[in-house]
Every structure is written in C-alpha cells, then in structure tokens.
C-alpha cells in the first residue's frame, strides 16, 4: 500500500430521487404487450432506451388477469428496458419479481379506478415527472385524459406560479420571475418574460407559443433552454417552440 493519503471514510449515504416511468398493465398477453411497447418505444425517440421502468399491475390484477412476471421481465429486458420494481402485485407476483432481481416498493396503491376491460386491452405507458410540480403530487391520468385547460387574463406577476392540467393560455404578459407550467401546450398572447414549461408530465409533442419571446427559461417535457442560449434573432418577436430529437426548436410564428 503506497503512502498516498486515502480518506478514512470511503463512502456516505445521501438521499436522492430518481424519475422513473411507470408501466401500467391492463393485459397479460405478452404478444400484445410486446407489440404495444415496440410502438411506444419507436414514438419515444430514445426516451425509453435503457430506461428504468416500474411495473404496475394494479389494473391487470383488478381485471383478474394472470400476469407472468418472469416472462414480462425478460420481455422488457429484451426491449432494452430496465425493470427495477413491481407495484400492486400479489404475493406470488412479488416473489417472482424478487426472483428476477427487482426490488419491491411499499408504494401506496394508486387511486385510479380500473377501466372497464375493452376488447383489446392497451398497454398504458405513463411517464412520471419529479417535483417540477410542487402542487399536485398525485396527478391522475385516466385512459381518456380530460384536459382542464386554463385561461389566465390578468398579468402573471413575478414570483407567481400557474399550473394547468391541460393547455394554458395567458392573454396578458408573463413577468420576469414568474413560472407558468402546463401538462399540455402553452399560449401567451403577450410578452413572455418568465419561465414557461410545457408538457410537464412528459408529453413531448407539446408546444409553446408567444407573441414576444423574452423568456428566462423554456422547457418541453423536461428538455430546457435558458435565455442566454436562445438565438438573438428569435427574441422580442412572436415565436413557436417545439421539441424534436430531444432538442428545443424555436421558430418564428
């Protein structure tokens, strides 16, 4: 052992949090599941590559379907997903999960009502996003999400935060230091000087529209850009912001 000084304490534990998409199963047919997953992965543009996944079988169990946990886990791994945990499982399912190397969370059962079994039960992929949203921790997404669109007609002042479960429309200015967030699209019929975050639950197809781009920060589905990096020729003009290939695209409106 050389005399090089090594710290006496080799490590420490620190609390951290990880954003993990939850895969809600409404079927036990592995073939259908595989088909649906391949579709979603293709749409996801790399989002799901090597992504950790939490398997949620609440719905499947409510429909009294026998879930082949081992088969499911192999399938997910085959598709380059990393299943890390199981939620809502029966004792047998939990043991199977443990045997596959998953760990079990003592997750609170979700408050979603199980949907009536349709003829071809779909695999619902729901991406959970961490606490950008401080207010509503338990956002519910039913099979047919009912968007609660919000319209704000007064200026959004510095320090104020607005959150919409659907689209958000502001027919006034958004001051510097204000934050507007939406699970859907954002439209600002005025100057946008604060932060605008669209698609906060992971919907990367969302867009931001404004009449006068001076935003401090723009974000779609977690991909963000600061004012410093927004091209000068796009600022102080009407603009449309969308997401392509994990990058924000700012176009003239």
């Amino acid at each position: 052992m050389s005399g090089a000084s090594q710290p006496k304490t080799a490590l420490e534990f620190k609390s951290t949090s990880l954003t993990v998409p939850a895969l809600l199963l409404a079927s036990n047919d592995l073939a259908t599941i595989e088909e649906n997953l391949r579709e979603k992965i293709a749409q996801g543009a790399g989002f799901f590559q090597d992504s950790p996944v939490l398997i949620d079988v609440h719905r499947a169990n409510a429909l009294e379907l026998e879930v082949d946990v081992a088969g499911l886990v192999s399938l997910l791994r085959k598709l380059a997903l990393v299943p890390i945990s199981l939620r809502g499982g029966t004792e047998a399912q939990n043991s199977a999960a443990l045997a596959q190397g998953l760990f079990l969370r003592a997750a609170a059962p979700s408050t979603r009502k199980p949907s009536p079994a349709s003829r071809a039960p779909e695999v619902v992929v729901e991406a959970a996003v961490e606490a950008v949203v401080e207010e509503n921790a338990d956002i519910r997404r039913d099979i047919a999400p009912t968007a609660a669109n919000k319209v704000i007609t007064q200026p959004v002042r510095s320090g104020q935060r607005v959150y919409s479960h659907g689209d958000l429309t502001v027919t006034a200015t958004v001051s510097a230091g204000a934050e507007i967030m939406a699970e859907g699209n954002i439209h600002v019929y005025g100057s946008l000087r604060g932060r605008a975050l669209a698609g906060v639950q992971g919907d990367s197809s969302c867009r931001i529209f404004c009449m006068d781009l001076q935003a401090e920060l723009l974000s779609i589905a977690g991909i963000y850009q600061l004012r410093d990096d927004i091209p000068k020729e796009r600022q102080y003009k009407p603009a449309q912001i969308s997401l392509a290939d994990q990058m924000l695209v700012i176009k003239e409106l």
Binding site: S158, A176, G177
Partner: protein, 271 residues
C-alpha cells in the same frame, strides 16, 4: 366607512414613508380625517418624517397587546388637526404583530376616520403582508430602476393573491403606480427607465410622478412632510397626486425636463 390605503413597494428606500407622510398630510389638509400607521416594527421612521418623535408614548404593538388604547397611542399632528399618527414600536420586532390585532385596530379606526394610510416596511415578510392585508387601495412606490421595478412586480403578485380581498374573492385591491425619484434629464439621455418602460412591465394606473428633488432631504431633516413645501417640485407633485386620487383631473407634470426661461438661465435655476 374608511378607505384603507397601503403604501408599499417591495424594494427598500424608494420613498414609501416620504410618500405616506406627504399623502396623508395632503388628505388631511383637504378636510378628511386621516390616520397614518407605521408598520415597520423595530425600524420605525414615520415618526421622524412626521416630526413627532418626541411625543411617542405608546405604539402599534402596545395597542395590539392591550397595553394601551388606540386613543392613548395616536399622536395628533401639530400642523393639521385632521391628521393622527400611530407609530411603530422600536424595541420589538414584527413577530409582535398579528392579523387579528391589526384587524381590530383598523376596524376601530374605520369608525371615525375617512382614510387610513398604512406605511409598509420593505420586503415581503410579515410587516409588509400585514400592512397590505386589509387594504382597499395600494400605492405601489417604484423607482425608475430595474430592481425596484421587479420588486414592485413581485409585490403586485402578492397583493393579488394574499390580501383579504383576494382570499375572500371580493373586488381586488385597486392598484396605483407612484413613480418616485424620476429624473427627466437622465431619461432623455437613455440612462434611466422612462414612464413607458416601467408601465410596459407593471401596467398600472399611474397615480403620479415625483421628481428627484433636494427638497425631500430637507423635509425629512426638519420632520416635515414634503407636501408642506409648496415651492418645491416634489411637494407640488404630491399635491397633484392627492388631487388625482380624490378624483380631480390633473395632467401629469414632471415627465419632461423643465425648459429654463431666459431669466432662470441668467440667474440660475431653482433646486
């Protein structure tokens, strides 16, 4: 029923106390019974600006704690019999204030007074939030300067969400812009934000512009609200402001640099 006015800003040192003193004196001189309350517990200076610092026996906190009655604490102004001052405590801090206590005082004052002016401390903490909680009107004092504008914007957000009117879903507080320390020369040179620049961000009803003036310092040193200095530009600005608030139609002055007449150019301009 009294009209409760809060003079607030967010940013410190922009002219809240100067404005509160001048405006409440202006209202009182026009025959309206007016009370002015200092909410800056621990850092009181309204009594200095009003010139009654040697007559303070009881203060706002004493009244809240029941150690004195409102009448014992209120100080009558020597220059105008319609004006009464309720000073803040210097020895305690803002934790001594409570919503119920403040509410009770305002309720009692509202019986006899027409206008109650609440001089808010700087910041967005308890003193400031209590000063604005019960307000009907808000005079947002702003300097034509970036940090003051942003802080005023923040304060407007708080006014629209944390006031009693906001919480009860009543008609919102009526907000006015009071632009102080305005220097038209520097605005013309492009060194200072103009009224239009400020309004682009704040979009408020402009109550008035008070020019940067040496008379302000002179007035505070002598414990006299500057509106009593009728020769000074600042004093006149506050006079206009009171008139405008009471509904008179006064054109905005002090926006443009004053053109010096020939005589003034020869013999020097006024301060």
């Amino acid at each position: 029923m009294a009209r409760i006015i809060v003079v607030t800003s967010g940013k410190g040192g922009v002219g809240k106390t100067t404005s509160s003193a001048a405006i409440s004196m202006g209202l009182a001189l026009r025959g309206h019974k007016t009370a002015i309350i200092d909410f800056d517990v621990g850092l009181r200076n309204l009594d200095l600006i009003m010139g009654c610092e040697r007559r303070v026996v009881y203060d706002l906190v004493n009244v809240i704690n029941g150690e004195a009655t409102l009448n014992q604490a209120l100080i009558k102004d020597k220059r105008c019999e319609n004006l009464f001052i309720l000073p803040a405590s210097q020895t305690r801090d803002k934790d001594a204030l409570s919503i119920e206590g403040v509410g009770k005082i305002l309720e009692d004052l509202a019986k006899d007074y027409e206008y109650i002016v609440c001089d808010s401390p700087a910041g967005i903490e308890r003193g400031a939030t209590l000063a604005m909680y019960f307000a009907d009107d808000a005079f947002v004092v702003t300097n034509p300067e970036v940090s003051s504008v942003r802080d005023s914007d923040r304060m407007l957000g708080i006014l629209s969400s944390k006031s009693r009117r906001a919480e009860n879903g009543e008609e919102p507080i009526k907000e006015y812009l009071l632009l102080t320390r305005y220097n038209p020369e520097r605005v013309e040179l492009g060194e200072m934000l103009s009224v239009e620049d400020v309004q682009e961000i704040l979009s408020l009803q402009l109550l008035g512009i008070v020019p940067e003036s040496k008379s302000i310092l002179t007035a505070s040193n002598s414990g006299m609200p500057v509106i009593l200095d009728e020769e000074s530009d600042a004093g006149q600005a506050y006079s206009d402001i009171v008139a405008r608030y009471l509904g008179e139609d006064k054109p905005q002055r002090f926006i443009k640099k004053e053109k010096k007449g020939l005589l003034q150019k020869l013999f020097g301009g006024k301060s």
